[in-house]
């Protein structure tokens, strides 16, 4: 992809006017905290990875924080969430304990999966978070299954199934669109379009427009700016209303950007340093909400300091726990294969 100007020019314009209607100052501050927690958590995870304390694959969410924070802000506790392998941010946004998530990354018994899942595989029944899946595209059919269960039980819940622009080329996505539309399943397919399927730019991997693909299944779609949490929230409010109202599925394409590599061992040769730098400097979602709050005049620069400190403390505590929690007992090798 060429040097991006704005990730979603049009949507951005809409939200400038919408911002004050979309969230109260308290909510905006909460979004700042939620996103900062993800950012600091991921930076710490990167550091622990660098120290050899986290192994294997580790896909960081840095840059994309506004997507899950904005969408999650309009959901209800009974709703189900499912995502792929870039999942730490989703878990934190679902209210899962940072200590349990970080300890899973280090493969310790205090992790959400007792150290048996790893970065890509964590779940929380309590928070209706259904993973954490490593097969690209799998979240769509699994997601419509969760949505099917909401409809079967008539519990009023909906499902958000996240996947990326790369996954949007998998056949199972369209098998899922078809059934979701036929049966009016309460699901939001959320395309986190960070412009690259691993190292291949959207221009090189995807023909046509993602939302037009959904149109072919009679599924309406929305596009929004994923570097602006208020824009995401605004779009999500609209989409959720449609889906919870029994009108069937919708697709929400969120234009975003990951600052880090696809996984930790990505040298990033497929995009320019300038492109990454431009996104970090001029489109950062955390800076954006911070500025919006400051412009609102209710908070000063200094008022952010204790918040930043508080978040740092939470993350440090998680990192500490993740290093001190014992490794799983060898007997755990044989448990949880069957019920």
């Amino acid at each position: 992809m060429a040097k991006p100007t704005s990730p979603a020019g049009k949507a951005k314009l809409q939200t400038v006017t919408a911002a004050s209607n979309v969230a109260t100052p308290e909510q905006m501050l909460q979004f700042y905290k939620d996103m900062l927690l993800i950012r600091r958590f991921e930076e710490k995870a990167g550091q622990l990875y660098g120290m050899g304390l986290i192994g294997g694959f580790c896909h960081l969410y840095i840059g994309q924080e506004a997507v899950v924070t904005g969408v999650q802000s309009v959901l209800q506790p009974k709703d189900s969430v499912i995502t792929a392998y870039r999942d730490h941010g989703h878990m934190l946004a679902c209210g899962m304990d940072p200590k349990g998530v970080m300890a899973e990354l280090t493969g310790r018994s205090g992790g959400y999966s007792k150290g048996k899942g790893g970065s890509m595989h964590m779940f929380s029944r309590e928070k209706n978070f259904y993973g954490g899946h490593g097969i690209v595209g799998a979240t769509a059919p699994l997601g419509i299954g969760l949505a099917f269960a909401h409809k079967y039980r008539g519990d009023g819940g909906i499902t958000t199934a996240y996947y990326g622009d790369g996954a949007a080329n998998q056949g199972q996505i369209y098998e899922s669109y078809n059934m979701a539309s036929l049966w009016k399943l309460p699901i939001i397919f959320i395309i986190e379009n960070n412009k690259y399927g691993m190292g291949t730019s959207q221009k090189r991997h995807a023909a046509g427009d993602f939302l037009k693909r959904a149109e072919g299944f009679d599924i309406p779609g929305e596009k929004t700016d994923g570097m602006d949490v208020l824009a995401v929230r605004s779009a999500a409010l609209k989409v959720v209303e449609h889906v919870r109202g029994g009108e069937g599925p919708m697709v929400l394409e969120v234009s975003t950007y990951r600052y880090r590599g696809h996984s930790m061992s990505d040298p990033g040769k497929y995009r320019s340093k300038e492109e990454v730098e431009d996104m970090r400097e001029h489109h950062d979602p955390i800076e954006h909400i911070r500025k919006t709050i400051l412009d609102g005049g209710k908070m000063t620069e200094d008022a952010f300091k204790p918040i930043d400190k508080e978040i740092k403390a939470i993350v440090n505590e998680a990192a500490e726990f993740a290093q001190t929690s014992p490794e799983p007992d060898p007997s755990e090798l044989w448990t949880d294969v069957l019920l």
């Binding site: 120290m51 007792k114 029944r125 059919p141 269960a149 036929l182 990033g268 044989w334 949880d336 019920l339």
Partner: protein, 458 residues
């Protein structure tokens, strides 16, 4: 307190690298996420980002240094209110733990090679045969589903042509009329998608029965059966189970050619986290499928199209269930043990009948469950007969016979008086021509020949 910045590992295999460039100098302020240095690994040049905010107090490893071990302190970061004196006192220290302090492969000397076998409670099957009804395997399967759907509102059936068409092989006949279209669901021809849907619904606690028109088409869905259904309980540390049944006809039917004639017993039997059943008779079909629907784990039910129309006596008691993981001795014998599953049980019984005429007493074991395999029943039989012939319609390589041979060698090697012998489908894609198809499939004569060979009666 000042913070040591350590040489990071940028891949799980990296142990050292070259510190090729410092982007920040001593005295520079850095923010979390800013690039401070570049390092070269064996694979690529990558950037090192600051995790904490502060000022670079001291650079401990100059740029251009090669072979810097992972976790070596490379710089000192001063936090707010600290000065260079703090940095000066921070001499490089030996890092106590190497980056990968855990042994590459945990010693397994004391560990068993596979998970402990779950205890299976057997039933008094004869008791249930006091009240029976003669019905086809097809009807037995339908009754199993209907009874379990009456019992549990979370059970539903989905698949191609299961509702209005009444089942491609009429197995779901009448279910739509009784349970309605909320619970009997016609899907598009989209195996990968609806298998995934079923798994997702099972994560949420429903109990789907996913019918594949044949297991050949489940190849399109095997990712969800293995990666999503079988592995999630383990990946979730026991938090999230997947109570689902995948069922449909497996193995060769009749004259349907290579792409519709394959046995998947060893494929699914290979996977920890799955249970796999292969019913033969009507009672098997009903009792095993009912158990499968009640089981909290994902179960693959391998049926056989040719068996659908065959009639058997089937217990009428709705509480008749056959425990998963138990084989059944269909015919007792003393000279040779013959194991078979699905349609081959009938062929093995016919072979045993003819062997008896020739004075060879064969014990025929109906495996019923492929995984977990009832090794105990088979081994006990082999301890008595000292011989084993394994029969399957599938290919031999890494097949069920190969597994049985290995297991018998492990548990009752000294009891064997002859090599375990396998009867199996020809190692070719299934031919269409009637004569070739017959040659490709195990016949009664093949079992008789094998039994005589191990009994040294040939």
């Amino acid at each position: 307190m000042s913070i040591q910045i350590l040489m990071p590992a940028l891949s799980p295999t990296m142990t050292e690298g070259k510190l090729s460039k410092w982007v920040k100098k001593e005295g520079d302020a850095v923010k979390a996420g800013q690039v401070i240095a570049e390092i070269e690994t064996d694979k690529a040049t990558m950037e090192v980002e600051a995790v904490d905010e502060g000022v670079i107090g001291k650079i401990l490893v100059p740029e251009g240094t090669e072979g810097v071990a992972v976790n070596t302190p490379i710089a000192v970061l001063l936090e707010e209110g600290e000065d260079a004196a703090d940095a000066a006192s921070a001499e490089p220290v030996e890092v106590a733990s190497s980056p990968c302090s855990m042994p590459a492969c945990p010693p397994q000397a004391a560990a068993p090679s596979h998970a402990p076998v779950q205890t299976v409670v057997d039933i008094d099957e004869e008791k249930f045969f006091k009240n029976v009804q003669t019905m086809t395997v097809r009807e037995a399967l339908r009754d199993a589903m209907a009874e379990e759907m009456r019992r549990d509102g979370d059970v539903f059936v989905m698949g191609e042509e299961v509702a209005e068409y009444q089942g491609a092989y009429k197995v779901t006949q009448g279910l739509l009329q009784e349970f309605g279209d909320k619970r009997i669901i016609d899907t598009p021809i989209t195996e990968y998608g609806f298998a995934g849907l079923g798994v997702g619904a099972a994560f949420a606690g429903l109990k789907p029965i996913v019918e594949f028109m044949t297991f050949n088409f489940a190849m399109q869905a095997i990712d969800h059966i293995v990666n999503s259904a079988a592995k999630t309980l383990y990946m979730a540390g026991g938090q999230l189970g997947c109570p689902i049944v995948f069922r449909g006809p497996n193995g060769p039917a009749s004259r349907v050619g290579a792409q519709h004639s394959q046995c998947y017993a060893s494929w699914y039997g290979h996977v920890p986290g799955l249970k796999v059943i292969a019913p033969w008779s009507g009672a098997d079909a009903k009792g095993l499928l009912k158990s499968a629907i009640r089981d909290p784990n994902p179960v693959v039910c391998l049926e056989n199209e040719i068996m659908y129309g065959q009639s058997f006596e089937v217990p009428t008691d709705p509480e008749f269930v056959i425990p998963l993981g138990k084989a059944k001795i269909e015919r007792a014998g003393t000279d040779v043990t013959i194991t078979a599953f699905s349609r081959m049980v009938g062929v093995a019984l016919a072979a045993a009948e003819r062997l008896a005429e020739e004075g060879i007493s064969a014990e025929v074991i109906n495996l019923r469950t492929i995984r977990p395999l009832d090794v105990e029943t088979i081994a006990n039989s082999v301890r008595k007969t000292n011989r084993l012939v394994s029969v399957e319609e599938g290919w031999y390589f890494a097949g069920m016979g190969a597994e049985l041979a290995a297991q018998m060698m492990e548990v009752c090697f000294d009891d064997l008086d002859a090599p375990v012998t396998r009867v199996y489908g020809a190692d070719v894609p299934m031919p269409y021509a009637a004569n070739l198809e017959k040659l490709a499939l195990p016949q009664e004569e093949d079992i008789i020949t094998a039994a005589k060979k191990v009994a040294y009666a040939a």
